[in-house]
Symmetry: C4
Subunit: 210 residues, 4 copies
Amino acid sequence: MRITRLEGLCDGVFAVALTLLVLDLPAPKGSQALARDLLQQWPSYAAYVVSFATVAIVWMNHHALMDRVARADRGLLELNLLLLLFVALVPWPTSLAAQYLRDPRQAGVAAATYGMTMAALSGSFSGIWLYLQRRENLAHPSARPRLGGALRRALTGVVAYLFGVALAFAWAPAAFAVYALVAMYFAISGRRAASSTSIRDHNQISDEPV
Amino acid sequence: MRITRLEGLCDGVFAVALTLLVLDLPAPKGSQALARDLLQQWPSYAAYVVSFATVAIVWMNHHALMDRVARADRGLLELNLLLLLFVALVPWPTSLAAQYLRDPRQAGVAAATYGMTMAALSGSFSGIWLYLQRRENLAHPSARPRLGGALRRALTGVVAYLFGVALAFAWAPAAFAVYALVAMYFAISGRRAASSTSIRDHNQISDEPV
Amino acid sequence: MRITRLEGLCDGVFAVALTLLVLDLPAPKGSQALARDLLQQWPSYAAYVVSFATVAIVWMNHHALMDRVARADRGLLELNLLLLLFVALVPWPTSLAAQYLRDPRQAGVAAATYGMTMAALSGSFSGIWLYLQRRENLAHPSARPRLGGALRRALTGVVAYLFGVALAFAWAPAAFAVYALVAMYFAISGRRAASSTSIRDHNQISDEPV
Amino acid sequence: MRITRLEGLCDGVFAVALTLLVLDLPAPKGSQALARDLLQQWPSYAAYVVSFATVAIVWMNHHALMDRVARADRGLLELNLLLLLFVALVPWPTSLAAQYLRDPRQAGVAAATYGMTMAALSGSFSGIWLYLQRRENLAHPSARPRLGGALRRALTGVVAYLFGVALAFAWAPAAFAVYALVAMYFAISGRRAASSTSIRDHNQISDEPV
């Protein structure tokens, strides 16, 4: 298995998942007051932005991960496909959240479904880091000391999402606030990890270009 | 025809087919008991997971196949496009299976449709191996002794899926059990085949990294 | 503009267009006689196969085209995007054809719409060959003598599709027979053209591997 | 971060967004006068063509941009993902415009929504050029003198789209005329910028091939 073709499939699934989110934005039919109807569906826009940002951040972190991989074996491949299963799933809880965010009795279940999907996504991410830690020779030598930190960050995400799921049944908006905070946490911690230069070739991220 | 561009199209179709499966997951509208309504549609989740896993396994085995190809001619190209026709079709029988799995009178037809699609997919896979066996100079020299085994595994899949189709009319759940077993068979036999290293470049799968 | 990135976008649009065709395959809801209902929608399956085959053949011929291009300028880029506009459109007339093939009064309009889309697709293909013929230094030196033949084949397609459109208003099934014949003509003439080896690298199509 | 993988994701999102536009083309159900019904939905065709052309032009200009980038840092990556958020959004205002273009009371809101999406898209494009201007060492040395002109063109787009939004509430068709003019402006100014050869490799656009 060449790593580039694995990346090709991953990027394809990420790109389609990002773009399919737009299908959950409703275009009201036969509206007599379009401005009002468009404003009323603000939860759909919020859900679009949060889900797009989350998938985009997962993509950035997946990139950082692949830059640390020197070789892939079948197990790593299967864990990557498990991750893609949850990435491709994101439009579904997004659609639920957009529809039920303003119905107080159902919002909790929608928020919990969203959080469980994201916890599973973070969980499969953690699984990849754990696998790399156990089979250290799959990782680039220079990346090995940092595997522990990456695993810890991914597990933090799982715990935070599960905390959000628990909150969801008490008060749904608080759960979504937690999900947004987790996304910001991953964006920021990913930024820090990226500032340590990657290995694989010369077109790298460099936060401090000379 | 450069092989890399053929792989690009294939990976694109696989990525879109994997991600379109999510469109068959229903988000109940105006539900008054969302938790119950979500749980009731469990066949949709099962169908999503089985179809995602099946397409993902086909993708992994397609990869292993392409790693064994040294050159492509027009016939090989056309057989690949026939394979893609059935890969792109998978969301359709998946949607049928999800909808009719719990209706005893229609489940047989849905299960048979699913199995026939998968048999055709395995059949076109067999066709590619058979073609490579007949035009051995398209395959990498080191891969030639193993073409017979690969063809036999693919044909086993066709026979097993057709057996599932026959079962479907007797008892639909048994047919789906057969389909799940076939997917597991391909995942495991693909793992074994992958442990024999591939040829094309240095970023290979290696089940026993040194 | 690097040619590889143009090919990346083209392959993406082709892959998505091929896979979106499945969205036009109806999964009957709440059917009481699923086998009968599935058989009754045979025009949808025929439309899926014909459209998939047509787009796949266009992709193969587009490949052969790109193998003959040495350099791209902005005009060639814009003509390629025009071609993609019609490739991305294919699922729409396919859906019309599937729905109205059995309604004698509307089948003519549906068949004509299908044929006009395909004529426009062939027309933009012809435009690319014409452009290459006029700016011969964009083409690989060894490909230049063959540009005339390629242009003639593409224009034959335009004429044949327009003939089909004219037939559509007399008898719709005859128009679809013409469209199927044109697809076969392109598949066969593309096969012949492919037997003259391509230039760009070593992983080529070769119809007569030694 | 390797630039090629960023381009892969971008091309994927562009390809899917271009192809999803077809889902907004309605195929009338059970029509008794298909020709008339198809002609009546001309705003949908106009919206398809304008949106396809706009996204295609954005893709061409994004290409020209990436050819000027020597290195990417995390900030550039995030600005690119922001751009993709608006690219992926385009099918939604397109669908609104197609539906409400002929309803005089709602057309203004639909046209304004379209214009605001495009202004945001141009705005995030401007953001990338501004970022490159501030961190000049990310750009190819030969591209640095031209960053100012590129930024000015992108900002012109933002202003023109906002002018269209203002017009929309007075007379919607005028707003759409402005949007079409902006697309033509970008196509033409992009053509000029492209005639200055790009840097990154030998398969370049050259408007004046020797």
